[in-house]
């Protein structure tokens, strides 16, 4: 099994007009997806990223530049991450096919393999 990180992006500015019933429906879809993943032993963890704050550091000619961010250029934000296991990238894509984040306007999922550099991952 290979470990992957799923990075979920969406545009929360579009959420203001979602009705309460639709919000509940979406949450239930996320729950259904997580339950299915958990039942098959694919999901390891999930974490919401804080909305406020965030810093981006750059080195500009030996000087540390600290910016608030990552905001500004795009309305897209990383909502949170999941850690899952899958056989391959193809398999991971398959597992994410019905991920409800893809139903949001501007919603996307980035899949990145975790590289254990030849070491055994924790907990097998």
């Amino acid at each position: 099994m290979t470990h992957y990180m799923l990075i979920l992006r969406s545009e929360p500015s579009t959420y203001a007009t979602i009705s309460p019933e639709e919000i509940q429906g979406l949450i239930q879809k996320f729950e259904a997806w997580s339950s299915k993943m958990a039942a098959r032993g694919h999901i390891r963890d999930g974490k919401k990223l804080a909305d406020e704050g965030g810093r981006v550091l750059h080195n500009q000619g030996g000087r540390l530049v600290v910016k608030d961010g990552p905001f500004g250029e795009t309305k897209e934000v990383v909502g949170g991450v999941y850690f899952i296991t899958a056989d391959s990238y193809d398999h991971a894509v398959e597992l994410c096919r019905d991920q409800p984040n893809l139903e949001f306007p501007g919603g996307s999922i980035e899949i990145r393999e975790l590289d254990w550099m030849g070491q055994e991952p924790p907990d097998g």
């Binding site: 509940q24 949450i27 039942a39």
Partner: protein
């Protein structure tokens, strides 16, 4: 934030969310916050509640659904409301009110009947949304939005209106309430009867909107039926407003809603009362109908709801269509006409006349109505006429009446139903039972 520190769940360890929990919680929280903020800041209360629900959408997918979803939402709304109060430099008293509100809702957790103060807030909100100075359409839209937690698009679908129209109606209604200085409180005793009528009218309208279209082709419309019953029960939750008339309305709605499972056949075609399989009627709703009906007998007032409930109770009590007590139904219609002189009531009474006195009398009644002209364009008048003529063996006239009915606006399933009847009449088949 404290709320997100609650034990998280992953997978199936937590009970699934109760149906419509977000809608219900929206209404409860808007009512409570609008009371704290002041009724002129209804929009602000709605924004805060929406933001709290959106927060859940952004957190729960990763952290899991909290053990007490309602309490979580209340805590988040409380924190957001606190920011609002501070920004607007509201008084210490407001802060205490907010804390009181959050405590009362949070401590209830997921336990079922969240009434007491909470019910009072919601009921007061209902009276405000149904203020008699608003048009019935505006009242219905506002009630669905703020109290029932429907989105603008859902209201538009439910009322067969354009989204922009609904949005505009809502904005105007709120501005109007603000100008009128409407407050979030139960009306004083002397004004209660008139204000209550205005609330009950909305419940009745909501129900009819859903009932007339509840053929499964439009789910949101069908939901209006249950929403209306829920709101009606809310009015009964406070002794001041739990008047016999309200029980009469609830009896009527329960009797009618009980028939829903029998109103369509296996392929979704509408079935008329004589065609329905009464074993499919919802026993629980029938029982609750009879209970409300019994309780509506207290006091001296006989409202239109009492009479309509009495008519519906005759149908509910009849084990078969043949066993229906038509003379009593006819008598109740006469009483109803004494109360409200409505051509629609007369049209409905015509069926009872046909059953009690025969087709000649019923056709004479319809001729009178047709001459009157007030129901021109209402498809049920020519449709009923066609049915009576067909039963009386006057097939040519019946054909013309069916054509007249089909020329009127009506829903697609109703039109299909009429078309099939017209074709059967054309083929010379015997008329179905009236």
């Amino acid at each position: 934030m404290a709320a997100s520190e609650q034990p998280r769940t992953r997978g199936a360890s937590v009970a699934p969310l109760v149906d419509h929990l977000f809608r219900r919680q929206y209404g409860r929280m808007v009512a409570g916050l609008a009371r704290v903020f002041g009724s002129d800041l209804l929009d602000l209360a709605e924004d805060v509640v929406q933001e709290a629900l959106v927060r859940a959408l952004r957190v729960w997918p990763f952290e899991g659904v909290p053990r007490e979803p309602e309490a979580w939402l209340v805590q988040v709304a409380r924190n957001l409301a606190l920011d609002v109060l501070r920004r607007r430099s509201m008084t210490e008293r407001k802060l205490r009110e907010l804390e009181g509100w959050a405590d009362s809702l949070s401590s209830h957790g997921t336990s079922a009947p969240v009434l007491a103060e909470v019910g009072d807030d919601t009921l007061a909100m209902m009276f405000m949304c149904c203020h008699p100075s608003l048009s019935p359409e505006a009242r219905v839209a506002l009630t669905l939005k703020t109290l029932a937690g429907f989105g603008v698009a859902e209201i538009a679908r439910a009322l067969l209106a354009k989204e922009a129209t609904v949005a505009q109606r809502l904005t105007r209604a709120k501005a109007h309430l603000q100008r009128e200085g409407a407050t979030l409180a139960l009306p004083a005793a002397d004004r209660l009867p008139r204000r209550l009528d205005s609330v009950l009218e909305v419940v009745y309208l909501l129900f009819n909107e859903g009932y007339s279209a509840a053929q499964g082709e439009n789910l949101v419309r069908a939901e209006l039926v249950h929403e209306a019953i829920r709101l009606g029960r809310l009015v009964l939750s406070t002794p001041q407003t739990a008047l016999p008339k309200v029980h009469a309305l609830l009896a009527l709605l329960s009797f009618l809603a009980a028939r829903l499972p029998a109103r369509t056949d296996a392929v979704g075609e509408p079935l008329t009362l004589p065609q329905q399989d009464r074993s499919l009627w919802d026993r629980q709703l029938l029982a609750s109908g009879f209970e409300h009906f019994a309780r509506s007998m207290a006091g001296d007032e006989i409202s239109a709801f009492h009479l309509e409930a009495a008519i519906a109770s005759c149908h509910a009590a009849a084990p078969t269509y043949e066993a229906t007590d038509w003379p009593t139904i006819r008598h109740r219609y006469d009483q109803l006409l004494d109360l409200i002189d409505s051509p629609v009531v007369r049209l409905n009474r015509a069926v009872a006349i046909a059953k009690v006195e025969g087709l000649v009398a019923a056709l004479a009644e319809l001729d009178d109505l047709r001459a009157h002209g007030t129901l021109a364009g209402y498809y049920l008048l020519p449709a009923t006429h066609a049915q009576f003529l067909w039963s009386a063996g006057r097939r040519d006239e019946a054909r013309a009446a069916f054509a007249a009915a089909l020329a009127c606006p009506c829903s697609i399933p109703e039109r299909e139903f009429l078309r099939r009847r017209a074709q059967a009449c054309e083929r010379g088949e015997p008329a179905p039972r009236i």
